[in-house]
């Protein structure tokens, strides 16, 4: 079991300290990424998805800190406790970009405007491989070709402003994949792109996953994307994973009221505009003034007094867990 895992996160707590106030952005998050599989992390904006990704990469802003818990990268050399590495130390830097790579939401701003795309992809190779300058140039063109960028030789010499949004994201993926990482973290990689381009990017990621056996952590706020791409799902709400399991577990047998609400809010393709989409009642609470118990209680149709206490994670099946006091009753009623 353990040796098919690429990464395990246990009880991770990452807090932000701004204006002397504490924002418990991640308040005990546990999950695993399986080798060569896609873990979809889904949740409304502000629930801690990006902070989870930054914690794994040790790219947190200065005013935030991993307070508790562990992040273990199961490398070929043995387990590495990422949370114990120095943030910008040599060991962390050699993992970043080489073994765990990341792509970001907005490809428009994620590339440096004054360097050619080829140069920026080559930089990763320069620091993580022994390739000569000439070999790096060849590898860059190979990568761009694999990403489906036409006339890659020309394109490598061009600057980000010569690229369209979709092409920039492809270039970002080329950069991330350049050293054949074991894990690719994609933080809302298509949110800034239009729908047809989205599909192309996802196809590309799926192809890379199967060809290179890369594990993917795909962050999104779109359940539809999860349904298409993920093997496993983690549903996040306000710093907790409220439900996790395989795609079948979570999408077919959702246990948590929040998961159901999210599922109810996806429009179904082909049903037209007038379908009954229920948006989730209310808004996410102020992260500095969080509810005491279950974070979702104020917006939940099933909340009772019991929900004033923080629920614990309970196993539904071997692969499926949920964080709700009342999931059994609710499930029976449904």
């Amino acid at each position: 079991m353990a040796n098919d895992l690429a990464l395990s996160v246990k009880d991770l707590k990452t807090f932000f300290y701004t204006n002397k106030r504490c924002n418990k952005a991640l308040n005990g998050v546990s999950f695993e990424i399986r080798k060569g599989k896609t873990l979809g992390v889904v949740g409304e904006s502000g629930c801690g998805k990006s902070v989870t990704a930054s914690s794994i990469m040790q790219l947190l802003p200065r005013l935030s800190r991993i307070e508790e818990g562990s992040i273990t990268y199961h490398s070929e050399r043995g387990d590495i406790r990422i949370d114990e590495l120095e943030r910008d130390g040599a060991e962390m830097r050699s993992i970043r970009g080489e073994e765990i790579a990341m792509i970001f939401q907005d490809p428009m701003t994620a590339l440096n405007p004054v360097y050619s795309v080829g140069f920026q992809i080559g930089e990763a190779l320069q620091y993580h491989t022994d390739l000569t300058k000439k070999q790096r140039g060849e590898r860059v063109i190979e990568l761009l070709t694999a990403m489906g960028i036409p006339s890659p030789g020309e394109r490598a010499k061009q600057f980000p402003h010569n690229y369209s949004g979709g092409m920039r994201q492809r270039a970002m993926i080329a950069m991330a994949m350049s050293c054949n990482p074991k894990i690719l973290i994609a933080d809302e990689p298509t949110t800034a792109l239009d729908v047809t381009i989205q599909a192309q990017i996802f196809n590309l990621m799926n192809k890379l996953k199967s060809e290179n056996d890369t594990a993917i952590m795909l962050i999104t706020h779109d359940m539809g994307v999860i349904a298409e791409l993920a093997d496993d799902v983690a549903v996040m709400y306000m710093g907790n994973i409220v439900e996790a399991g395989t795609v079948d577990d979570v999408l077919r047998r959702p246990q948590h009221p929040y998961t159901r609400a999210l599922l109810d809010s996806i429009p179904i393709l082909g049903r037209g505009r007038d379908q009954d989409i229920k948006s989730i009642r209310g808004a996410t609470p102020d992260p500095y003034e969080r509810p005491k118990g279950c974070q979702f209680a104020p917006r939940c149709d099933f909340a009772t007094d019991a929900c004033e206490v923080m629920p614990t994670e309970e196993a539904v099946t071997d692969t499926h867990r949920v964080m709700c006091h009342r999931y059994k009753e609710i499930f029976e009623n449904a």
């Binding site: 830097r93 970043r96 440096n112 405007p113 990763a124 402003h161």
Partner: protein, 319 residues
């Protein structure tokens, strides 16, 4: 890139024409003309109107304004700036004679303020909020707000008169034979002239650096696993450099203006000092030529800055 430079030069030409016309017009509007200045005040009463008219005709002053402007312009284009009224030396000779001193001073100040300004700004940004940063900020504010001549006088008082480390002024030591022999002379005027610019560059470099450090491509660079120095120099600083170069370009005219004052304070025998002498002596042709040359220098500087920015920032080349 070549077409960019050519286009940029073509834009400069009409600007030069307009400015030369304005300079000539300004001269035209000053009271009296060359003839009245050439006659010493004691003789004004004895010279007849006819003699004056004859002199005007011989100098071409009876022609229309436009004709005179045209002939002045065509001469200048050929490098003939006419003659100084006092002494009758060719203006081009005077300028060529004085230019090296001014260039030396300006280039010293430019290089110093660019390098030191950038280094201090970078340091300040990287150590944001620290004591170093606050100290540099205060120094920077003083630097941009205190006038140069004041700095110059204080510097002379302290380093030349009280401590006696450096010469009071002038450019050459009596025993001048190599550059290093007169290097001590340039230190004070050079530093004082560059002070304001250094402070400006520093403050600008700091904020440009803070801005570029907060951009998303920095996170991408970190996610690639690049070492810190490379992220700072290759990614953050390179992007911060564009606005800094533009600022230096904007400030170049103040460097040229400042050198007039500094040359006067330190008796630095450059064009600025000559200019002050010319203004005092109502040597209008000389004043006019120097003014025109300064404009040319400013335009040239902004041309160079534009080309530099285009080289640094690929996005500029599009426009």
């Amino acid at each position: 890139m070549l077409t960019f430079i050519l286009r940029r030069i073509l834009i400069t030409i009409p600007m030069l024409l307009i400015i030369s016309f304005l300079v000539y017009l300004g001269l035209e509007l000053t009271p009296g003309d060359a003839v009245s200045h050439m006659i010493s005040p004691d003789l004004t009463n004895t010279v007849t109107e006819e003699q004056m008219a004859a002199m005007r005709e011989s100098l071409g002053l009876d022609k229309s304004f436009i004709e005179r402007y045209w002939s002045w312009l065509t001469h200048i284009v050929q490098g003939d700036f006419g003659h100084s009224l006092s002494g009758g030396v060719a203006i081009s000779t005077i300028v060529l004679d004085r230019l090296p001193a001014t260039l030396e001073l300006s280039i010293f100040a430019l290089v110093f303020s660019t390098i030191i300004g950038c280094v201090l700004g970078l340091l300040s940004a990287l150590k944001r909020g620290s004591a170093t940063d606050s100290a540099l900020t205060v120094v920077g504010m003083l630097g941009v707000s205190i006038p140069e001549f004041f700095f110059g006088l204080v510097a002379i008082l302290i380093f030349a008169l009280n401590l006696g480390w450096l010469p009071v002024g002038g450019r050459l030591l009596p025993s001048y034979d190599s550059y290093w022999d007169h290097f001590p002379n340039i230190i004070l005027p050079g530093l004082v002239l560059s002070l304001m610019m250094t402070a400006g560059v520093m403050r600008y470099a700091r904020s440009a650096m803070l801005d570029s450090l907060s951009r998303e491509f920095i996170r991408t660079a970190r996610a690639k696993g690049l070492p810190q120095w490379r992220i700072i120099l290759y990614h953050a600083f390179r992007v911060a450099l564009t606005p800094v170069v533009v600022l230096i370009g904007f400030r170049l005219p103040t460097l040229i203006g400042g050198s007039v004052i500094i040359e006067a304070v330190f008796q630095w025998p450059g064009i600025g000092l000559e200019f002050i002498g010319a203004v005092r002596g109502s040597d209008y042709p000389l004043v006019m030529s120097i003014a025109l040359l300064s404009v040319l220098a400013v335009l040239l500087a902004s041309l160079i800055v534009d080309v530099l920015t285009a080289m640094i920032d690929p996005r500029v080349r599009l426009g």
